[in-house]
């Protein structure tokens, strides 16, 4: 059975990058353009891992991570941040929100695959 990864990013280009990199490795990808859409899709799909951007409309990545971590059923869901925000403060904030890994754009597709496999394999 394929492991399901939810990708939340308002950039269609990045959604496609991640999707291409991970589909080849046998993962199923569910794409969302913002945190709100992600929160709507998570309960209706059996998600194994979340990859999220931080700057997003409606519900941003920080809020998305906090909401997931505040939910008893989703608390343990691995979350990888994929963001162009690379300052110490931003990374620290991502860590405090509850992200498991933090990847900075531009990212190497191999690193995304590596990080995902760390949690799912």
């Amino acid at each position: 059975m394929k492991r399901v990864i939810l990708v939340a990013d308002d950039s269609p280009t990045i959604r496609k990058f991640v999707s291409v990199a991970l589909t080849v490795k046998g993962y199923e990808i569910i794409s969302c353009s913002d945190g709100m859409e992600a929160l709507e899709k998570i309960p209706n799909n059996k998600i194994d891992l979340v990859i999220t951007d931080l700057n997003m409309p409606n519900v941003d990545g920080f809020q998305l991570i906090s909401t997931i971590r505040g939910n008893d059923e989703l608390r343990e869901l691995p979350i990888i941040v994929l963001s162009s925000l690379g300052s110490t403060e931003d990374i620290q904030r991502g860590l405090e929100c509850g992200a498991n890994s933090y990847l900075i754009k531009p990212f190497d597709p191999k690193r995304v695959i590596y990080e995902v496999s760390k949690y799912l394999n």
């Binding site: 308002d10 950039s11 269609p12 280009t13 990045i14 496609k16 990058f17 291409v20 990199a21 080849v24 913002d34 700057n55 997003m56 409309p57 409606n58 941003d60 963001s83 162009s84 925000l85 690379g86 110490t88 990374i91 620290q92 860590l95 992200a99 498991n100 890994s101 933090y102 990847l103 900075i104 754009k105 531009p106 990212f107 190497d108 597709p109 191999k110 690193r111 695959i113 590596y114 760390k118």
Partner: protein, 254 residues
């Protein structure tokens, strides 16, 4: 006595009147220069107002053009990525075929050696057969092709990495659009204050803005391939599995 007092008052009033005329004589040229100044300034203000109005009316077009650039680069990037993806799949097939060939050569060599062992008295025919099949040479070529495939895989990975410049530039363009919109709104307000013509219709610009990626962007987004920031993130997250890019590259090269 009363008449004397009245006359004093009249002289006092006349004195005040005289001062007023003296003051008037001094003030009239000043008022005249103010009028002249206003006469010069009003057309200038009109010109400035028209210029602002013209500039403000051009801003929606500029914003629209920026959005077009973003959309076009997004589409082109997507197309390139599709091609790179198709290339990767083809490379994967080639790799499998080459692996099959290598296995085939191995099996042929084993079979040949077994045949040679079973028939020791072939008077040089076995060596001639071995030389004719040239398995070693073919295998060397397969290994060389595998190396080329690996290099192309690395190149396509680098193309994917470089294509992310589109995301970074789209964030920078969104930031510029945001600035343009701010300038347009300020110009519109200024025009409203300067004339009674009313503000420029900003609905077109607002519509353009809605068509963009909902105005979420990192104005400081930079296209940097330096691993420093990623290393900082790894250090802060300190998951106990700090893995360098070199180590990841080695893992994927296997």
């Amino acid at each position: 006595m009363e008449n004397h007092s009245n006359m004093d008052q009249v002289f006092e009033k006349l004195g005040e009147l005289k001062s007023f005329f003296v003051f008037g004589q001094k003030v009239v040229p000043v008022i005249q220069s103010i009028i002249d100044f206003m006469r010069d300034v009003v057309p200038l203000m009109e010109y400035v107002n028209n210029s602002i109005q013209e500039s403000a009316s051009k801003i929606p077009k500029a914003a629209s053009q920026i959005n077009s650039v973003t959309n076009a680069t997004e589409m082109a990037t997507s197309e390139i990525l599709d091609i790179v993806d198709a290339m990767s799949m083809d490379l994967s097939k080639i790799k499998n075929e080459l692996a099959d060939l290598k296995n085939g050569f191995f099996n042929q060599r084993v079979a040949l050696e077994s045949y040679g062992n079973q028939h020791p008295n072939l008077n040089g025919q076995f060596e001639a057969l071995q030389s004719g099949l040239s398995i070693d040479e073919l295998e060397t070529k397969v290994v060389s092709l595998e190396e080329i495939v690996k290099k192309i895989e690395g190149d396509s990975n680098n193309i994917t990495l470089s294509l992310q410049v589109q995301d970074i530039t789209s964030q920078q363009l969104a930031s510029v659009n945001h600035l343009i919109q701010s300038v347009q709104k300020r110009l519109s307000k200024l025009m409203n204050d300067l004339s009674k013509k009313g503000p420029v219709d900003v609905s077109e610009l607002e519509q353009e803005d809605e068509n963009t990626r909902s105005a979420t962007f990192n104005p400081d987004a930079r296209y940097e391939k330096s691993p420093d920031k990623q290393e900082l993130a790894n250090e802060l997250f300190n998951t106990g599995q700090k893995t360098s890019q070199d180590e990841i590259d080695k893992l994927f090269a296997k």
